[in-house]
Symmetry: D2
Subunit: 400 residues, 4 copies
C-alpha cells in the first residue's frame, strides 16, 4: 500500500519536469509556507531546537550560494560576505559558525533583506542552470532535498513559535494535521526470514540509507494503524506518567525533572483537554493519531500496552502492509551506520554521519513532510527527549 | 553648576504646559525613539536584562490603562483583556505575570497591534484628562516618570540589540553619546560637616529619595571630570583585569567566569580598539568618558588609581561642584532605604522598596535619560555586575 | 547590659595569661570541638558554603605556619610543601588555590595526618613564642582571632553535616543552643542624636570596625528580646512564605526557586514541627529565639510585623540596652567600608575589604562564637540568602 | 583463544565448590579490595558517577538482606530499618531512594557500622544457606554477580577518588593495570556469513545476553591487539582533539565544552606525559593499551586511522581470534534489546532493560573485572561521554 495522497496542492506531478521548474517549484514552496506569517513571527526562537523562519529561508539559500554558485559561477559575487557566517548551520567545513542559541537574537538582516537575498540567488541560479556541469547534479539534488527538509522544519518551528505564544494564534484556519482516520487496529504478521534493507532505486537518496544489506528477523506482528489520542489518554488516566516501571531510566528522570504530564501542545483547561494545532487551539480530537510525544513516551506507552516499538528493520520490512505518512514513527533503533557506510569527503560529509550517536531512528513521513520527499528506506533521526516533530507511535509485538 | 543642556530637541520648555500637552509630549517621545528601528528590532531579547522595544511600548501603555483608565473611566473597556497579563512587569499586585525570559519569544501581538493599543489608550486618556479627579494626579505623574524611565531603557536595550548583532547596524548616524568633553581633572574639596540629603522640593520625586535627613561627612576630594577611555585603557594595559588585588571577591569571580577583559561594546580588532555606539562601530575615542562598565570594574579602576568611588551622600553633597548628566555614576553605596522610609500600599508600593538589597546606587543621569527626568537627589540602582546602562566613573579620595 | 555569661567552660579568664597559654588554649579548643566527631564526619562537604572539619583544622594551622613560622623561624621546614596549596583559603596573595568545591572530595591527607600537622606546627610555635619579635604580635593576634572564627565555623559546619544526614545523629547530647530565655518583649527607645560608631579600645579588633566616626540617627524603638520560634510560626501560619508583599524582589525569587517554607533545620513530620539542633532532632521549642533564617526571611518577618530590621548603627547605639550574644543579628545595613577605610597591604589586606559588596552586616555574637571573641563594634557579614549561621531577628520601629 | 590468565589470586578454581564457600569467597573479596584504603577514602564521592566505597560495601549487603533474608528467613530482623532507604540504588520497586548526589555527603553510618552490617548479614546468610529453597538460587546468583559488578566499581571508583586527589596517593604499590603486552598488530579476517549471537550455555548469565539469534555480517578485519598509548599520543600530536572531522557532533561539543585534550588520568607536566594508575603517578608507558577514553574519543581515533570500531556482533563473532580481558572494548553498537527480550517482573526487572537507551555497548572485560565474571557474550554498557571505566579501543575495517 502506498503512502496516502493528501490535500497538499504542490506536488511535483511528473518526474520529467525541467531542473529549472523543479528549482522554482521547491524554492517557491518555502515562501508559500511562510505566507500566513506576520513579520514578527519570522524572527523569534523560543527554544534552542527551533530556528526562526527567516533563518531557514536564508540558510537554504546560502546552501545554493555556497555549494553551487561560488563553485560553478566564475563571475558570481556574494550577496553579502557576512551571510556565509550568519546562515551556515552545522557545516564545520565552512569556517566559523554563529552559536545556534543566538539565532533568535538577530533582528538583522531583516526579513525584507532575506527575501532580496533569495531573489538574488534565485536569479543567478536560474541563469546558471542552463549550463551547470553534470558533476554538480548531485549537490543540486542535495540542495533540493535540504530545502525540503527545512520546509518540514518551517512547519514544526512555526508551530512551536505560535503554539507557545499565550495568544495561541492559528497559523492557518482549517489546516488539517490528520489527513485520514487510522481505524484499522489489526496487526499484520511478518514471518521469520531474511529481508533486504536500504535504498536500491535510481532516485535521490541519502548516504545513510545506502549500504543495502540483508537482515534476519524473527516473526512479529505490527499494527496497521497508529496509536490514537484516545489510547494515549487512557495511558495518562491509568497513571502512565507516574509509574516508573514503563519507563527507561533516562526517560523517568526526564519526566520528573521537566514535570511532563501530557504530550507537547496538550492543555487541560477546566478539566477538558485541548491541543494546539496549526489551525489553532481546539478540543482534543480523540480519533486522531497522537503526536508530539518523545521516544521515551512512545516507548512507555508501548510497555503499558504490553507491546513494544518496532525496530527500523521491522518497520521497513512491513511498511507495505500499512498506511504511513501522517506521523514520523518512533522505532527502537539507534541511528547507526549501515554496513560499509563511510562519510563523504568535504562539507557534505557532515550531513548525516556526525549525528550517529545518541539519536533514535524515525521512519515514515509526516503531514509536514514535503510531497515526494520521503520513501520507505528514509532514515530520519531525533533525540529521545524531543517532541516538536509530528511524530507518532506504531505498536509491535512478538509472535508468541 | 547645573546639568549641561544638550542636543536633545524634545524638552518640556516650561512647567505650565497643560497635562494633555505633557501627556502627548511624553507618549510621542517613546515612539520617536523607535522611529529608526526596523520592525524586527522591536521583537528580540538577546539577554534577560533587556526587553524588546515593543514590550516597552506596550508596558508603559498598560500602566495608564491599568492604574488610570480602569480606575477613573467607568465606561472604559480594555483593548485586549490578555494584555494585562502580557505587559505587566514586576507588579505582583496585578495578577499573574509572564516570565521575563519569555518576552523575547512573543512574536504576537505584532508591532502594529501594539501601536493600535497605544492609540486606543491615548485616545481614551486624552478624553479622560478633561475631568480626571485631582486624587489621580500623583499616579499620572508616576505614569509620566515611569514612561520616561522606559525611554531610557529603550535606548539601552536598542543599543544592546544592535550592538550584539554581528552586522553592527547603527541606530542613527551621528548620534552623539558624549555631549561635551570632560577635561577638568582637578578635584573639588568638600570639608567635614553635616549635609542635607534627599528631595525637599515641590516637583515630582520618588519615595526612595524622600526622608530628607542630615548626614555627617568626613572631608574628601571629588574629581570634576569623569574617568576617560584613555584612563581606562591605561588600567587595562597595566594588567587591571589580571590583578586580583584591585577587585572585590565577587568581582574577581565575575571577571574570571565571564572572561571579562574590557568594557561592554569594546572590540579589539587587529590590535586596534573599537567601540559600538548608537552611531555604529567606530574607533575608540580616548577622550570620551568611559561607559558600560560594571560596579566591579569601576571599583577596581578606582583602587588601581589609589582612590575610591564616592558614597551617594558624598556625591549629592558635591554635585553642584561639577558637570553631571552624561553618565550614571557608580557610587560605593548600597541601595537601602532612607530613615523613615515605608513602602506605599498597593501596587505602586512595589516600585522601589523591593529592590533595596543586592543593588548599588547610581547617581546623576546619562545621555539616554530624558530631559528633566533626573535631579541631584535622584537614586538609580543597578546590580554590581551589569553593564548595559550608560554608566561612568567619578573618582574620590580622602583628605590626607 | 553585658553579654550574658554562658555554659561554655573554656574561657580565657584573665587577660594577663601568657602568649603561650593563650596559644595553647585556643589551639586546644578547636580540637575539643571536634572530639565528639566520628572520623568520617571530618571529611565531607555537603554544600559549597560548608568546609570539612579536617580542612578547618588544617587551614588554621597553615595560617601560623605561613605567616609566622615561615617568616620568623629561620630553620623552619614546612611539614609538607603541598599543604600550603591545599589549605590556603582565599588568600590570593599566597599562590594558587584549590577550588573550594573540591574540599569535600579530598580523602587525603587523612585526619591523623592533619593532627600530626597541628602537633608539628604547635611544637615549633611554642618554641618560637619565646623569642618572637614584637612586630609579629599583630599577626599572631590575627591568627588567634582567625582560629576563633573557624571555631565558630566548626560548629556551624558540623551542624550542617550532621543535620543533613538522614540519620540525624546528635553532635553532643544535651548541647544547649539557647542559653537563657528571651522574654522581655518591650522596646528600648533611642532618642534622635549623634552617636559614635566603631572600635576605639585597646584590644584586638579588625580593620573593618576601625575608622571611628559619628552618625546622626533619627529616634527609634528596638526590641529587647529576639523573635521567637512561636512568632516565626505565626508568620508561617499566616502565609508568610506565600505573600510577596513582605519580600524583597530577590528574596521572593529565592523562596520560589528553592521552595522555601520554613527555617533551615525545621522539619514538619506528621503535622508536628521538629528542628535539628546540635543535641539531635527534637520537638520545636517555641520559646527559643528563631535561628537559621536568611536576611530575606528576617526582613519579611519584620515587614509582616509592620516593623523593620535595625541598621548596624542603630544596633550598635542601642546594644547596651539589651542582652545579646545568642544569635548573630540581621541588620538592614550592607557591609561597606567605614570612612577612611583602606585595605592593609599584603595577604592580610584581603581579610575583610574584598567582601564589601553583596553581603549584609550581622551584629552581636551567637552561641557558637568563642568566648571573648566578639564585641559591640564587631562587624560580621553574610550573603542575604544563606542560613547556616546561628542568626536571629531583632525588631526595630520608627518613633511615630 | 581464551581470555589470558592473570595475576589475580582470588579465583574460584573449580565450579563445584559449595554455595557457602562461594558466598564467603565473593563477600570476602570486596573487603580485600578495600584493605589498602584509609578510612577517609571510604567516604567521598568526587563526581556523580562514582560512589563512595562504603556505599558499595553496604549496597551489595543490602541486596542479600532485601531479596533473600527478608524473603526466605521468617525470623530475620533488619540490621537497621533505615538502611533499606540509604543503600538501595536504582531499584524503584523498593520504596524511596536517596538522591545519588547525596551519597558523598553521608558521614554516617560510619565505615565501622557498615562492616558490622556486613557481618550481621553474612552470619544470617550462612545460616540460611543450609535450607534455602531452590527457587532462591537464581536471585542468589544475581546477588553474587551483582557484588562482582560492584567489585569492579570499587576499583574504578577508588581510582577516581585517589587519582583526583592532589597528592596522587597510590592505591597499592606494584598494582599492574596491564597484565601482558599486546603486540600483535595484525588483523583477523572474518568472512561474510551468518553468526550466532548471545549466551546459550548453562552457567549464570544476564537477561540482556539471552535471546540467542543469528545475524548476517559483511566481511571485515579486526585487529588482534588493542590501540596503545603511543598510537593515542600520535593522534593527539596530529591535532586529533582540534579537528572536528573525526568527531561525532555531540563528541565535538563535549570536547569543546569540557576542554578535553587527553585521556582521563593523563597529565602533561613540564612537557612530559604521566598517567595516574592504581600504583601511583608514573611516566606514561607507551606500549600499554590506552585506557580511560570515552566512546567519542575511541570513535575519533578510529576515524583518524581511517578505520572504525566494530559492532558488538562483529566483536562477538571474532572474539576467539584475539586476546581480550584487559580493557572493556568500545563498540559502535547502541545498547538495545535482543529479539524477544522482555523485562523480568518485579525489582530485578529493572536490572538491565531500563538502561537500553542512550548508552553504548562495551564488550570483553577489564583488569578490574573479577575473575570468571565476564564471558564472550557479556554486554556491558556505558554513556558515550564517560571515561572512568578501564576501557580500550579495538580497530576494525571493512574488507575492500
Amino acid at each position: 500500500m502506498e503512502r496516502h495522497s493528501d490535500h497538499r496542492q504542490h506536488t511535483l506531478e511528473h518526474e520529467n519536469i525541467s531542473l529549472k521548474e523543479k528549482y522554482l517549484f521547491i524554492r517557491k514552496y518555502s515562501e508559500e509556507i511562510c505566507k500566513p506569517l506576520e513579520q514578527e513571527d519570522y524572527v523569534v526562537q523560543p527554544t534552542v531546537d527551533v530556528s526562526p523562519p527567516k533563518w531557514h529561508l536564508a540558510h537554504t539559500t546560502w546552501f545554493f550560494e555556497e555549494f553551487i554558485l561560488c563553485k560553478y559561477d566564475k563571475d558570481y559575487k556574494r550577496f553579502n560576505s557576512k551571510f556565509s557566517y550568519l546562515f551556515n548551520s552545522y557545516y564545520n567545513t565552512v569556517g566559523d559558525r554563529v552559536l545556534r542559541l543566538d539565532r533568535g537574537n538577530m533582528s538583522r538582516p531583516t526579513v525584507e533583506e532575506i527575501y532580496q537575498y533569495r531573489k538574488y540567488v534565485d536569479d543567478h541560479m536560474l541563469e546558471l542552470l542552463d549550463y551547470l556541469p553534470a558533476e554538480a547534479n548531485y549537490v543540486l539534488e542535495v540542495g533540493f532535498n535540504h530545502e525540503q527538509q527545512h520546509q518540514e522544519l518551517l512547519f514544526t518551528d512555526i508551530k512551536y513559535i505560535l503554539g507557545h505564544n499565550p495568544l495561541f494564534p492559528p497559523y492557518k484556519t482549517g489546516f488539517v494535521e490528520t489527513l485520514y482516520p487510522e481505524i484499522n487496529n489489526t496487526f499484520a504478521f511478518i514471518p521469520e526470514g531474511e529481508y533486504t534493507i536500504g535504498y536500491s532505486g535510481y532516485g535521490f537518496s541519502y548516504d545513510n540509507e545506502h549500504g543495502v544489506h540483508r537482515v534476519l528477523l524473527k516473526p512479529y506482528h505490527i499494527r496497521k494503524s497508529l496509536v490514537t489520542n484516545q489510547e494515549y489518554l487512557d495511558f495518562i488516566n491509568d497513571g502512565g506518567y507516574t509509574r516508573w516501571e514503563y519507563w527507561h531510566s533516562d526517560g523517568w528522570e526526564w519526566v520528573k525533572q521537566n514535570n511532563i504530564t501530557a504530550p507537547l501542545y496538550w492543555y487541560s483547561i477546566e478539566g477538558k483537554w485541548y491541543r494546539y494545532s496549526l489551525s489553532g487551539l481546539e478540543t482534543l480530537n480523540r480519533d486522531e493519531p497522537v503526536t508530539h510525544i518523545s521516544f521515551y513516551e512512545a516507548s512507555a506507552l508501548a510497555a503499558w500496552k504490553g507491546m513494544r516499538l518496532p525496530t527500523e528493520f521491522e518497520w521497513e520490512a512491513a511498511a507495505d502492509q500499512f498506511n504511513w505518512g501522517q506521523r514520523w514513527e518512533h522505532t527502537n533503533s539507534a541511528y547507526l551506520p549501515y554496513p560499509g557506510y563511510s562519510k563523504p569527503d568535504g562539507a557534505l560529509g557532515e550531513y548525516n554521519g556526525k549525528f550517529m550517536v545518541n539519536t533514535m531512528v524515525l521512519r515514515g513521513a509526516s503531514v509536514a513532510t514535503p510531497p515526494n520527499h520521503s520513501r520507505k528506506s528514509y532514515r530520519n533521526f531525533f533525540y529521545p527527549q524531543l517532541r516538536w516533530q509530528f511524530n507518532g507511535i506504531r505498536l509491535c509485538k512478538d509472535n508468541q
